[in-house]
């Protein structure tokens, strides 16, 4: 990496229902997603010899790849659990799978994340069991910072101050992803949203309101990789990973670079260079949207808009279906479900196959998937291409 020159492709995708899955455990959800992805590619369970997952945030485990392997009923040659952060974890899983297959050690590898963060978290817990997520209880908790909303609120306020942006810029992201979610039968949010709805939603941590924040969801997503032409259902459906770029710059919000220096620009530049492409070559933008501000920052870092111009771009309709770069046609973390960004990747594959139904992006040949973990602490950009 960052260039992926091999013939390894994403041959299968699996998604569970999202929202509330009462009575399901994390390992059961991950197994359901893997089985769906294997079916999609036409593989049998016994074909699986690589297994890469992320353990649940709400109920942390260790050795979760072995837990899943046993539960599935497989004995893979290669199994591991990775936790890099946000959607970058999904990209890192793909890297691991590509390497395992390129080396010849594995033939069929699955990457999966899923849990019941909505219905399965410990009773009374405010947020998830993520106390040390930003690395410094000692430098955050005594000052009133806990969880992920406050760090993103600090980033959002800085963005508003730096560029003179307004809540309409933030709202535009929430509104377009909601419009898209309404075209997805497997989305948590089913009601239209207006600017008035957005402004009526309660303040969580200024300037962020409830409708600036992504969902808490049960559900899972999985990808199955193999060599091109190897999958029984493969045909011409295998989607290539053209490039992955990543950058880690910090962990806690106190050490976050100012917006122009966030790692997304470096990750994007690496991915574009490796693929020999730029924003003009992209037709689908599946950008990490844990908060509305994440999208504005990412649009600018990845060259879709100039500094401070992300909101204007979204309000212009360019990120709507039918526009130049439809944003998160599945509804994203804001309005479909927050499955750690795995569904940004499965949606990109679906779009590139031309199987997205009424939310299909016309002429979709390449998708850019971005992700970040923490507070843009680790950033990733990945370019997928149709066969």
């Amino acid at each position: 990496m960052p260039a992926v020159g091999s013939d390894v492709v994403i041959a299968g995708i699996g998604e569970t229902p999202v929202g509330r899955l009462p009575g399901w455990s994390p390992v059961e959800i991950q197994a359901m997603a893997v089985l769906a992805a294997l079916r999609d590619a036409g593989f049998a369970l016994s074909d699986l010899d690589g297994l890469i997952n992320l353990d649940p945030y709400a109920t942390p485990n260790s050795m979760f790849s072995t837990t899943l392997a046993e539960h599935l009923g497989v004995a893979p040659r290669f199994a591991c659990t990775v936790d890099v952060g946000g959607t970058v974890t999904g990209m890192t899983m793909l890297q691991q799978a590509v390497w395992a297959i390129e080396s010849g050690y594995c033939n069929v590898a699955a990457c999966v994340y899923g849990e019941n963060a909505l219905t399965g978290r410990p009773v009374g817990a405010q947020g998830l069991h993520m106390h040390n997520l930003l690395g410094g209880e000692e430098w955050e908790e005594p000052f009133g910072l806990h969880g992920m909303v406050i760090p993103y609120a600090l980033l959002a306020q800085r963005y508003l101050d730096l560029y003179g942006a307004t809540d309409e810029d933030l709202a535009a992201v929430a509104l377009v992803t909601r419009r898209h979610a309404l075209l997805n039968d497997n989305a948590q949010m089913r009601k239209p949203m207006t600017l008035e709805d957005y402004r009526a939603s309660r303040q969580i941590s200024s300037p962020l309101r409830l409708l600036d924040c992504s969902l808490v969801s049960d559900g899972g997503g999985a990808l199955v990789l193999t060599r091109s032409g190897r999958a029984p259902q493969g045909g011409g459906r295998g989607v290539a990973i053209r490039a992955i770029g990543m950058k880690t710059t910090h962990n806690s919000v106190a050490l976050m670079p100012d917006i122009p220096g966030l790692g997304m620009a470096a990750a994007g530049a690496d991915a574009y260079e490796a693929a020999g492409m730029g924003p003009e070559d992209i037709q689908v933008a599946n950008l990490h949207d844990a908060f509305t501000i994440s999208v504005l920052v990412s649009l600018e870092a990845l060259g879709f808009a100039g500094p401070g111009e992300g909101g204007a771009l979204v309000r212009s309709g360019a990120m709507d279906l039918g526009g130049r770069w439809p944003l998160n046609p599945h509804g994203g973390l804001l309005s479909q479900a927050h499955i750690g960004g795995m569904l940004h990747i499965t949606e990109a594959v679906r779009q590139l196959r031309g199987e997205a139904g009424r939310r299909q992006v016309e002429g979709a040949r390449r998708a850019l998937v971005s992700g970040n973990g923490g507070i843009f602490s680790v950033c990733g950009a990945m370019i997928l291409e149709k066969p």
Binding site: E137, E138, E141, P142, G144, L145, I150, Q157, D161, S206
Partner: protein, 138 residues
């Protein structure tokens, strides 16, 4: 507002001098004895050059607001309900490093980016905490 609340830190051997200084009403940041890098937060090595010969520099406690947020949800539990809304700030210290803190005082809700602030050390439970207040203009 009711009495201030703060979740106590659990210092390491490397960070204890920072918190002990706060209890004396002093803001100390670590400084590399080799390359002179002044940094936050305390570690056992310099994150610029890797050296472990570190000292402490007394900070002026003056700075400007890089960003802020008024928090309306008791993320640290129901006991915090009486603190709401409270204000979290990123402060750029005059000497360079940035730190996360809380902005207190009656005028905290009117804070703007770039405002001048100064450190204060309120006693909360067994410790004193390096929070900030706005400095009146002029």
């Amino acid at each position: 507002m009711l009495d201030l609340l703060a979740t106590p830190p659990n210092p390491t051997g490397a960070s204890a001098p920072f918190w002990d200084a706060c209890d004396r009403g002093e803001l100390l940041f670590p400084k590399c004895g080799r390359c002179g890098h002044l940094f936050y937060y305390p570690r056992r090595h310099c994150p610029l050059c890797g050296d472990t010969a570190l000292g402490w520099q007394r900070m002026s406690g003056r700075g400007t607001v890089f960003s802020h947020s008024h928090v309306h949800v008791a993320f640290q539990g129901g006991a915090w309900s009486g603190q709401l809304p409270y204000t979290v700030v990123l402060v750029d210290l005059a000497e360079g490093p940035r730190m996360l803190s809380r902005l207190i005082g009656a005028d905290a809700p009117a804070v703007r980016g770039g405002d001048a602030v100064s450190v204060v050390f309120p006693q909360i439970g067994d410790r004193r905490y390096p929070f900030f207040e706005r400095v009146p203009a002029g």
